[in-house]
Subunit: 305 residues, 2 copies
């Protein structure tokens, strides 16, 4: 049970020499996800040694260029790399048409299957589930239809406390599944052995909430609360709260307020506007509201173990 998040890009609007638009690589419970894919993402993936072939699921928050203009290039590269396995792309309605048209004009339609999962609901929905991980949308409020994504590990069964179990000759392997599932055991004497005596807590399931781009939207709090890690955009400092409101972005203070009210363990901020020459002020400002704040920077890895 662990999360490793690699920031590939974390700047808003236009790519610059040392500013890369949004993209993140998430390893969670042995799943490998790409989140957003601004122009130049595949170059950043190579720079930070992200294994292209590991990724089977790409989640796009919204169809602004700085979050998806790198997608078609990556899909083309998968073709050049002779990918054969399915690739799932999650994103707003429209993503399929715009992507396939680009592949069509270049006559480079992928030989591997691309499965588009187009989203249009305004409610949070479960969009991915396997034996290890769940992914839910986090409806956000931006100038175009936008979702954040909540990635949650599935709880593992309880672990057997073999030292204590061996003290009861009557308990045998046939009981183990019930014990792992949290059940108490009734001995032939009628004595009830509490499950807590027979098991150890499993590793706690971890969760990561990705929220970009959005205006301050406190109604996401019930969805993301108690997350181990929250990425929340902070395009502006509070000095430009007016501009944040107008462009439907958040300030550093607003991101921190969401983190505090959601009781998350750590907040990562990013999507810095190019108008700010240095980013340390984002952290300083957020820390006035919430203690555990980190700045997203390309190549930085955030782990939850």
């Amino acid at each position: 049970m662990s999360i490793h998040l690699t920031i590939l890009g974390c700047h808003s609007a236009t790519p610059r020499v040392n500013a890369h638009p949004t993209s993140q690589y998430l390893e969670i419970n042995n799943n490998h996800f790409l989140i957003d894919c601004g122009e130049g993402t595949q170059r950043q993936m190579r720079k930070y040694k992200v294994g292209f072939s590991k990724i089977n699921h790409i989640f796009i928050s919204h169809l602004h260029g700085d979050h998806f203009y790198g997608l078609v290039g990556l899909l083309s590269t998968y073709g050049i790399l002779s990918r054969e396995k399915d690739l799932h792309v999650y994103g707003p309605k429209g993503i399929k048409e715009v992507t396939l048209l680009q592949l069509k004009v270049s006559k480079s339609h992928a030989k591997y299957p691309i499965i588009f999962h187009e989203l249009s609901s305004k409610e949070s929905e479960l969009i991915f589930e396997d034996e290890k991980v769940l992914v839910r949308t986090i409806p956000l409020n931006h100038r175009v239809y936008t979702n954040g994504y909540l990635f949650t590990e599935k709880e593992k069964p309880r672990k057997l406390n073999m030292l204590n179990i061996s003290g009861y000759q009557e308990i045998d392997k046939a009981d183990y599944l019930n014990i792992k599932a949290g059940k108490d055991i009734v001995l032939s004497t009628g004595e009830i052995i509490s499950n807590s005596e027979l098991t150890i807590d499993p590793p706690k399931a971890k969760s990561y909430a990705f929220c970009s781009d959005t205006s301050y939207k406190p109604d996401i709090i019930p969805i993301i609360e108690n997350s181990d890690l929250l990425y929340h955009e902070a395009t502006f400092l509070s000095d430009r709260e007016d501009l944040a409101r107008k462009t439907k972005h958040s300030t550093s203070i607003q991101a921190a307020q969401i983190a505090k009210d959601s009781n998350v363990k750590k907040l990562i901020i990013g999507h810095y506007s190019g108008r700010y020459k240095e980013i340390s002020s984002f952290k300083k400002e957020a820390e006035t509201v919430f203690k555990n704040v980190e700045l997203a920077e390309p190549g930085k890895v955030f782990s939850v173990n």
Copy 2:
């Protein structure tokens, strides 16, 4: 009369950390053109200090991703930079639909006018002309419809040789236009003063031919012959001529043969396949056929004065 060509990217297929897909910035006779626009071009433009606002004309050779996936990002950036003046985009039929759809889904349709010039002719045609420069297509042979572009300075009128002219009191300002146009002057005595005595040759008009991507296609020679500068793709070395033929690319030797048979002054090669770890072999191989060969590399500037 001068040409300055800046290589922004010159590698084939997929962007990598130190490999950038095709794009070139051409300054010719005070015109500023962008040629091809692979993913990451706008970042390369910033890196090599290309003034975004100077460019009013973008020429796209063909709709393979490594030649145009950076276009929509650049157009979006022009929107963010509040561009107001016209931008002309030349490229194969289909470029308008695919570009506008991307701008539409992101609701970022440019407020400045984008004028698309869609090409579909298989014959060379004049597609741009102003008082200083002509641009013609160079029909190429690739897996999709592809054009190279020939950029030619317009000849300036002949220069007045004022020292010699002052020797003839009878010749006055009213004659200057005729003299500049190359005409002889007849004096009242009936004596004919040859134009060559009254004028100096103007600076020679320069030309640059861009040819990417294409299989070996000698019928372009009449179009590009005597160019000062020729960029011709050389995706492979001769060891993989089979692959060049199959993928409709050229080898280094073939590019050099075109340069030789066209009597150009200098050949620049590029579009190197990622299979080659170093590029010096491309130059060595080409030099066995044609003497004046240079390797395209990001940031390199080639000038003709």
